[in-house]
Amino acid sequence: MVPTSYYLVLSAVLFGLGVVAFVFKRNIITIFMSIELMLNAVNLAFVAFSRALGQLQGQVFVFFVIVVAAAEAAVGLAIIIVIARNRGTLNVERVDSLKH
């Protein structure tokens, strides 16, 4: 059997990588992808816990998370499209007219 902690550590690593990605990437779309990566890591943790605890709730949560992710994706990508349309760039660093 695979110990739960393996899954959890993996989820932690993936989450962390997501964080790194968010800070590292410049392209808005990929930054958004890194958020998805983080959510996936969360899902993994949920599944692992629900298994470890012998409950099903965890999986239900995963289901919800996926739905939320989908909703976010829809809105987020829409916003990204608008940005691309109005700003002509996808580089997050170039979208900085609001400051100080």
């Binding site: 059997m1 695979v2 110990p3 739960t4 902690s5 393996y6 899954y7 959890l8 993996l10 989820s11 932690a12 690593v13 993936l14 989450f15 962390g16 990588l17 964080v19 790194v20 968010f22 800070v23 590292f24 990437k25 410049r26 392209n27 779309i29 990929t30 992808m33 998805e36 990566l37 996936n40 993994l44 599944v47 629900s50 298994r51 470890a52 605890l53 012998g54 099903l56 999986q59 239900v60 995963v62 919800f64 996926i66 992710a69 989908a70 909703a71 976010e72 994706a73 829809a74 809105v75 990508l77 829409a78 916003i79 990204i80 499209i81 608008v82 996808l90 580089n91 660093e93 170039r94």
Partner: protein
């Protein structure tokens, strides 16, 4: 070393590799593809944990719907290679290292906390039980999610709609 562990290690390795490549790839498409790799391998891990339903949803909704949406948008905006600007010194010198630190911290903490975690016996998870749970106990959030989707829909329509539409 049981076969499960071997499988886990492989899938984990693939997932991490995918995540890393998501970071390193310059072209959004490549990043998207590597994200898909991560998702698929995660689906595998779900199977390994006996969560077939979730695994399926993972492949269909995530790998299918969401990522397709991503790729579609990338195509639509034909986003090219991302320019590695460094306008934010903060992010460059603090952010990225800090991210790694955070990763290490969380991983360490979790490893220490769960090393001796009780390993419950894998019981067969039937989709029926899941649906019971979903539609009885969690019917309220479930209904809410429908509104969530509604909002998202509304938003997508509203934002993506071209000006000349009205």
């Amino acid at each position: 070393m049981t076969p499960q562990i071997a499988v886990f290690l492989v899938l984990a390795a693939v997932a991490v590799a995918g995540a890393v490549s998501l970071i390193l790839q310059r072209h959004p498409i490549h990043s998207a593809l590597s994200l898909i790799v991560v998702m698929v391998s995660l689906a595998g891990l779900y199977l390994l944990q006996g969560a077939e339903f979730i695994a399926a949803v993972q492949i269909i909704v995530y790998g299918g719907a969401i990522m397709v949406l991503f790729v579609f948008v990338i195509m639509l905006l034909n986003a090219g290679e991302e320019e590695r600007t460094n306008l934010s010194r903060m992010a460059r010198y603090v952010g990225v290292p800090l991210g790694v630190v955070f990763l290490a911290e969380v991983a360490y903490a979790i490893a220490r906390a769960t090393s001796h975690m009780a390993q419950a016996s894998p019981q067969a998870v039937s989709t029926r039980d899941l649906s019971k749970l979903l539609f009885r106990e969690y019917v309220f959030p479930f209904e809410l999610t429908s509104f969530l989707i509604l909002i998202a829909l509304l938003g997508a329509l509203l934002l993506a709609r071209r000006e000349d539409s009205d």
